[in-house]
């Protein structure tokens, strides 16, 4: 039997969930023995591959680029995991939802800038009106709240998924 194909993707988050994943220490060796890591922030592959068994999604859906990527991930993933509060609740990226993207951009790129203030050009993905949790856009199979989820929790979720078990996160991890 071939190894399960694992991907990770980093959308609108701080990378803290990926840091927590790395925080598994030597258990990483065990996990990498048991899966093929086919895409992610730690892998130098540009296009999201087909036929992925498990994708861990860090971050909220905040820009047109996030939106394009999450559709692609969903299309090619069997089990999609919302990893961490940004993916699960929109968390800190969602704090702009009560203010709106225009005011946020103006504050960050014009008001608070002293040298050459300018709004981002076409090279920077456009912000969506709202930053939303992943499951507001595509179906999510497993929710792992936490900011970030602990390395122990991520390990147990991955261990379950690789072994074909359904991970249970209710009652074992909190928001924040």
């Amino acid at each position: 039997m071939s190894k399960p194909r694992l991907a990770t993707i980093w959308l609108d988050g701080c990378s803290g969930c990926h840091m927590s994943l790395l925080d598994m220490d030597e258990r990483l060796l065990d996990i990498t023995e048991r899966v093929d890591i086919v895409y992610g922030a730690l892998v130098d592959i540009k296009e999201f591959p087909e036929d992925v068994d498990v994708t861990l999604v860090e971050g909220a859906i905040s820009s047109e680029d996030d939106l394009r990527k999450i559709y692609e991930v969903r299309r090619n993933t069997r089990i999609l995991v919302s990893l961490g509060d940004c993916a699960v609740t929109s968390n800190v990226p969602g704090m702009r939802n009560q203010i709106g993207p225009a005011a946020i951009l103006e504050r960050a790129y014009l008001e608070n800038v002293t040298i050459n203030p300018q709004l981002p050009g076409p090279m920077v993905p456009r912000l969506l009106a709202m930053s939303r949790p992943v499951h507001a856009v595509v179906k999510v199979d497993v929710f792992v709240p936490g900011c970030p989820p602990s390395a122990d929790l991520i390990h147990s979720v991955l261990d379950d998924l690789i072994s074909g078990r359904v991970p249970v996160t209710a009652g074992v991890t909190c928001f924040g």
């Binding site: 699960v88 800190v92 704090m95 949790p133 929710f143 209710a170 991890t173």
Partner: protein, 235 residues
């Protein structure tokens, strides 16, 4: 005062006339989740987390404000109740802006703990993301309406214990907001005694002491001596 007998979760228990289901359950070591309830303050049934089933009745009853009856059969845990409690906590989260990771009460919050207790891992309901303000006009304390769950513990402790009644609630539904006096900035209130009891009883990060940052709130809760001393009078 006569003694009444009833069953809670199949156990034979007894209480006095006028005692609530919650009170009798806790005296007998049967846990019922609560949020707006605080020992020593009057009960108002605001949060609905303590709902229980009573045999022969279709509707649910808030245990904190339902008095016991002779022969009553009370169910505290069922799939139906668990689903309701999970939905109640979800409604509280989605109605305001609860961002645990940057909240002063992170890891010291009854709402955050309740989410774990009821098994809430995500929200099926959309986030309302309302416009909510922070009033930092008081010299020592602040209120962040983003984190308020309208439990009204602050309103009750201010009225019933401190005797000031600085706090109250204005508006209805999702527009309801805590106010100080008749809706003036907290710092301008001439009834607030700056005792800080409201801050201590707040279950979330809505009421806070200034000078504390993320996850630094330390509520000295819930059994403040003056609450326990007051308890006899609320029953």
């Amino acid at each position: 005062m006569s003694v009444l007998t009833l069953t809670i979760e199949g156990r034979d228990v007894a209480g006095q006339t006028g005692h609530t289901i919650l009170q009798v359950a806790r005296e007998n070591g049967i846990p019922i989740p609560t949020l707006c309830h605080l020992q020593g303050l009057s009960d108002v049934g605001a949060c609905r987390l303590c709902v229980v089933e009573v045999e022969g009745q279709r509707k649910l009853f808030p245990a904190c404000v339902t008095t016991i009856d002779e022969g009553m059969k009370v169910t505290v845990n069922s799939e139906r109740l668990a689903a309701h409690r999970r939905r109640i906590v979800e409604l509280l989260f989605t109605e305001r802006n609860h961002i645990c990771s940057v909240c002063i009460a992170d890891r010291n919050c009854e709402l955050q703990d309740l989410a774990v207790a009821v098994g809430l891992t995500h929200f099926e309901l959309p986030l309302l993301s309302p416009q909510a303000v922070v009033d930092a006009t008081h010299e020592r304390f602040g209120i962040d309406h983003n984190r308020c769950v309208l439990c009204t513990r602050c309103v009750r402790v201010c009225d019933e214990i401190e005797g000031a009644h600085t706090w109250d609630v204005m508006g209805r539904g999702t527009e309801a907001r805590l106010i100080t006096d008749l809706g003036i900035p907290w710092g301008d209130s001439n009834t607030c005694t700056s005792c800080g009891k409201c801050v201590q009883v707040c279950p979330t990060g809505a009421l806070f002491e200034k000078g504390r940052s993320v996850a630094e709130a330390r509520h000295r809760r819930p059994y403040l001596p003056y609450l326990v001393a007051h308890e006899g009078r609320t029953r």
